[in-house]
Amino acid sequence: MAGGAASGGGPRADTYAADRTWLLLPAWVTLSILVLAPVAMMLVYSFLTKEFRGGVIWEFSLAAYDQFFFDRGLFGDEPPRIEWTYILIFWRSIWQAGAATLLSLLIGLPTAYYIATRPARQRAVWLFLITIPYWVNLLIRTVSMKFLLRDQGPLNDALLGLGVIDAPLSIVNTNLAVQLGLFYSYLPFMVLPIYAAVERYNFALSEAAADLYATRWVILRRILLPNVRPGIIAGCVLVFVPSLGSFLAPDLLGGARNFMIGSLIEEQFKGNAGNWPFGAAASMILLTLVLILLLAFARAQSRESR
């Protein structure tokens, strides 16, 4: 990803090389103060001693990471074993977010493509059509989604009435409901970057391929998709990462029977546990995972494009 979005246009493009310092200055100032400094503070907190009921004591401690990786039994006095609880929670979240991203891509890519190939003056309207639902608060949208998917909800009524199914589908409180909720939460984050990429795709490339007797699906796979890949990658990142940390859809649609990363971390800061260093440590582990994932992706991509 990093290589992808950063390298397009190529490092050869250096029109504004002389201006780059002041061009980057606003971003550096804003983000250093508002993101980098707080994240650095979190990193420090993850190595501090927890204060009972929230807060930290300024003493170095590895307890937070120990709690994450080692299981010492209910009373904390058994010999340490590998702790699977949090790994399982992370795995579950990654899996759910991945499934939601795939779903968003399957629906979002054709949608973005379709919009980008509309006549120029219709496109703005189509884009707004995709973003209008997001003027309604996420909580309200999620609750309405739940209403639709209920056992006695309109979806089941319609399917029963049409004779498609004999008994109501139980969707609420399942993983599928969570994935649908996440998909619904972040769909424009998939559509908009892909749209921006397809919109500047040069269809002469497709024409050329067609002249060489490529079928349109071959063109799609071999020419179009590689060309709009930066948009697809941006879209996947924008859906995957927020899905990882979200807790509204899992809570309301999934029934919150199991922690997801987001609710686990939230519980450390706002819940009963009040274990700030552990919440900070879990966040740092999540951050590290995401960064490793993205770096691996960037490497694979830059190797491929070489």
Binding site: G9, M41, T131, R200, V241, I265
Partner: protein, 268 residues
Amino acid sequence: MAKRYDLRVYPGFRAVTFLCLFVLYAPLVVVMVYSFNASPSITNWEGLSLRWYADVFTGPESAKFKAAARNSFVIALVAASVATAIATLSATAILRGGRFRLRLVSFGLISLPLMVPEIVTAVATLIFFNAIGFDRGLLTILLAHIAFCIPFAYLPIAARMQGIEDTYEQAAMDLYATRRQAFVRVLLPLMMPGIVSGFLLAFIVSLDDFIITNFVKGAGVETLPTAIFGSVKQGIRPNIMAISTMLLAVSVVMVTLSWLISRRDTTR
């Protein structure tokens, strides 16, 4: 050359798009219908009524919701504009600034707000504001929103800029355009679709944010999401549905206006 078929058209893509719109709008229909429910419940239908719309404007919470809506819009507008500007400048440096040491680091920094779980940013920012003795209020919300909107604006903008060959600007500069002119007259117009989608993303992200806002807002300052989240803790009532429906109406009006404007532009 006679085309065998339209290469731009893929069978099924239109169907998927309409399916997509259906999925997006079905829950909104629920919201709209139940905003007209006479009953205070959101699950039992008791006939048509406008009482919840009246409640939004004249009810005991009307002042709070009005203030919250105003705050939300001002913050979203300013945060998205500033973030889009910062993102455009950064994308230009990163994609058109040649090879330099801090290039990847800069990109990483810009993406950072995306990688950090919101709740962490929220707590960390709160602790940070407290540490430097910054009073919480509307300004702290605005600053926090600008920061996390930057990557959302950046990615569509960068995705677009990558696809624009720098030959256009080079050509302009060969014709004695200054770098500034090449940027303003050539690159920016070509970038517009990316900038618009970047702004839109940033705008809705800011408009919908709850977690960070809830932590960094000052006493008595509400945005729509914090007001709505607080309100539904006491049970979801149709007045929230009415507010949502009105927000939808506002956005539809904006769409219509933008469509009319774009039509006038092309017919001129």
